[in-house]
Amino acid sequence: MSALALFFLVLGLGLIAWLSARMRAARFRVGNTARFSSLPAHHGWYVALWTAIPPLLFLVGWSMVAPALVTDTVLASPAAVQLPPPGFDRASILSEARSLAEGRSFGAFHELARVLSPVYAAAQSRYDWIATALALLLTFAGGAFAFLRVRPGFGARTRVERIVMILLLGASLIAILTTVGIVASLLYESARFFSIVPITDFLFGTHWSPQVVDARDPGASLGAVPLFWGTFFIGAVIAMIVAIPFGLMSAIYLTQYAAPTTRKWMKPILEVLAGVPTVVYGYFAALTVAPAVRDFAVWIGISWASSESALAAGLVMGIMIIPFVSSMADDSIAAVPSSMRDGSLAMGATSSETIRRVLLPAALPGVVGGVLLAVSRAIGETMIVVMAASGVATLTLNPFASTTTVTKQIVDLLTGEAEFDSAKTLAAFALGLTLFVVTLLLNIVALTVVKRYREAYE
């Protein structure tokens, strides 16, 4: 029986258990005025959980060991004597036999695979039957055990609620598990990379050309400084030159000047900018903005301007970040106590003077925190730079020259055809680790700044 069918069978049996236990518990109440600790549904859940959870856990465990058991049986069969010694050939024959046995392919490359496939199918079906029998045994044993405990005085509720609490705790532990998974996988692959390339070469080298990695000195062409510079230049300089004035001024206008109806309509419209998928921005940057920027550069006399300039990617990224900066600035201006604003206005200052001399200086920490968060968003942004920035790493201050970024290089390195553990692909994980650490630090600093500032006015 297939795992999926077994899964639904167990669930169905669980449902039956729920209904029957609930009926049994409900019958206690007929003509009985005593106080019960549990509702009939609690008894139902108690029995259903005992019916379904043990076999499901068993199936999960079984699915991990079963392939090895099946392979062992096949290897012990007489036909397996002809198999080559453990290695690539043996594995490929075995996997071919398995796909033949499962009906996923029809022709075999190795003759031996054809011979082994019936053995495989037989072993597979035998273990499937064992699994089904064991799972059903567990189902009925658990169900019977729990069903016999359904009595008027039995505290099914406390037991069911304990399981619910375990479930809740387990769900929230997944967040920690994800974080640990990210850190561990990045660290592990980066450690492998740094065993090939010295960490100082990677962090301080100024030459990046992963297309031609010299096997004797791989560090010479894997220096990431140009990438760090390109990322900083596009994400933290050009994008912010666009996003800060636009975001800040729109926030000021919408909170201080605009009529309530204007605010009600314009705020969601600006937020749509943040909801547009980044691949759309990337397409827009590559198709519309980049040629325009190049034409402009040629027009002002830079004939060698790249059609994949840092400026095009940075401009579009800045537009994408506008609503982010705007909403952070909005929050921090709103957090300034109104007494400060009223005091300034009462002294005869105009609105703009109040905003520039009183509100903005008071809100500055919040705004700076918001900008730092925006920078962390911008340097982690991938699709715009993948589609609009170039792959050539240069150390340049010229916005019309081609520049590349960390995220663009991660995508380029991992979507090539190189094998998984070459210095090239491992470099992507080292870049990912750097990106992770930098965005993490930026976020922590930004959130601390914002939090301090909020507390100052509370």
């Binding site: 769900a171 929230s172 990912g432």
Partner: protein, 436 residues
């Protein structure tokens, strides 16, 4: 006026040395003062205008972005067809009409040389370059017409078939000069028509711009989103409930909170690296499968749902909990019978917004190999598939001009879905939001 308050006036040394009588109130009618006020008011107007300009320019960017996509993409839904006279009786395809209604009709027609028959009909009708006039998929249209009406096999008929990509572009006013000449000739004969391209809505990727379709990527997106929703929603809601209602204040809870807040801010490409190293590398799951894509996006969406869920749960007033506890409900009953149903609209709004973000996400899916050329819609969670944003990315890399309008058309489809999801979220928020 003899008494003067020391607060007003210039704090220069001579003034403070003199008796108080020297200080006169500011005369606002003097020329200097008037011009100063004018300057200040002008600055005020400039500042206000700058703010207005920032708002309008930002909205203008959005309008420009959307309208340029609409402008380029609208024609992607339309195909140009040419009326092709075809004489099946003369072509004498070696096939019995009865087979056309059976299940193997597609294969039978292909092996009976239908494609060649269509090409020779084109040569007869439009001259020796007639064959290049038609799209590579033209014979598929003829095949479908034959299947719909097997009687055609013994007749002469005229079928409107899609034209090749350069001719299509020329008919839409943006093609190479030689194709423009061909279009002018065909227009004079009155054989060109336009219509909604069903090919675009029902097929998957292809190497020919006139044969590409969005359905394969759409189905891939759908399967991926189902996996994401099934994982991220229950886990997110349960974590939010735990953290908001039950979690004791200790170091472990702090750790969970910190990691959720950090995960919400981690760049999406990092999740792609996680998926590549863990799901593909360690667990050996299949590449470019919706299952892996959904798992990766679920990890990314879960923190968004947790944060939205916690805010929604926090908004449920404590009096509800107290009342339920007061009449004897257990803590679990309080939460599952009262708090959760009341917080659900808020949680759903957050979930839809998180799912919309996941639907538009590209970078992590590139990492787990969802950038392969896949010419058939996926039929299961483990089949190789692609998703809408990745399809857009792949088409944007194509050099052929016909792909520009197809890319923009795919973007329109994606944006329509995102706007619809956000619209539903806003509607839910407005309809069910309770101010306590």
């Amino acid at each position: 006026m003899n008494s003067v308050t020391p607060f007003i006036g210039t704090p220069d040394a001579t003034a403070s040395a003199k008796p108080a009588t020297a200080r006169v109130p500011t005369d606002w009618t003097t020329k200097a003062m008037q011009s100063r006020i004018r300057r200040r008011y002008a600055a005020e107007r400039r500042f206000r205008l700058a703010g207005l300009a920032a708002v309008w320019l930002s909205a203008g960017f959005l309008a420009f972005l959307l309208s340029s996509m609409l402008w380029q993409g609208a024609s992607g839904f339309v195909e140009t067809r040419v009326a092709l006279p075809i004489d099946f009786a003369a072509a004498a395809l070696p096939i019995e009409p009865a087979r056309l209604t059976s299940r193997g009709a597609d294969l039978a027609l292909a092996s009976a040389g239908l494609e060649g028959a269509v090409d020779s009909a084109a040569t007869r009708a439009f001259g020796k370059d007639g064959e290049g006039l038609l799209s590579d998929g033209a014979w598929v249209t003829v095949r479908d017409a034959l299947k719909a009406d097997p009687g055609l096999l013994s007749r002469k008929t005229v079928i409107a078939v899609p034209v090749a990509s350069p001719v299509d572009m020329a008919a839409k006013g943006d093609g190479p000069p030689e194709a423009e000449a061909v279009v002018a000739r065909l227009k004079a004969r009155g054989v060109l028509t336009r219509g909604l391209s069903m090919t675009f809505l029902t097929t998957a990727d292809s190497t020919d711009a006139t044969r590409v379709g969005i359905w394969g990527a759409f189905k891939g997106s759908l399967l991926t989103m189902i996996v994401t929703l099934l994982l991220a929603f229950p886990i997110g809601v349960l974590s939010a409930l735990y953290l908001e209602e039950y979690a004791p204040k200790n170091r472990w809870t702090d750790l969970i909170e910190v990691s959720i807040n950090n995960l919400a801010a981690v760049p999406s490409i990092i999740f792609g690296l996680l998926g590549l190293a863990v799901f593909l590398g360690t667990f050996g799951m299949p590449r470019s499968a919706p299952l892996v894509g959904g798992l990766t996006l679920a990890l990314m969406t879960m923190p968004v749902i947790v944060i939205a869920g916690r805010n929604a749960i926090k908004a449920v007033p404590p009096s509800i909990r107290d009342a339920a506890l007061g009449i004897g409900a257990s803590p679990v009953q309080v939460v599952f019978h009262h708090v959760l149903p009341l917080a659900l609209p808020g949680i759903l709004t957050g979930t839809i917004i998180g799912m919309a973000r996941a639907l538009g996400e590209t970078a992590p899916l590139l990492m787990i190999g969802m950038r392969a050329f896949i010419a058939a819609p996926p039929s299961g969670l483990r089949d190789p598939a692609t998703v809408l944003p990745v399809q857009i990315f792949l088409w944007s890399d194509q050099v052929s001009r016909g792909f520009i309008e197809k890319t923009s058309a795919a973007i329109i489809v994606l944006l329509v879905f995102l706007l619809a999801m956000n619209g539903v979220a806003i509607y839910l928020r407005n309809k069910f939001e309770t101010r306590w």
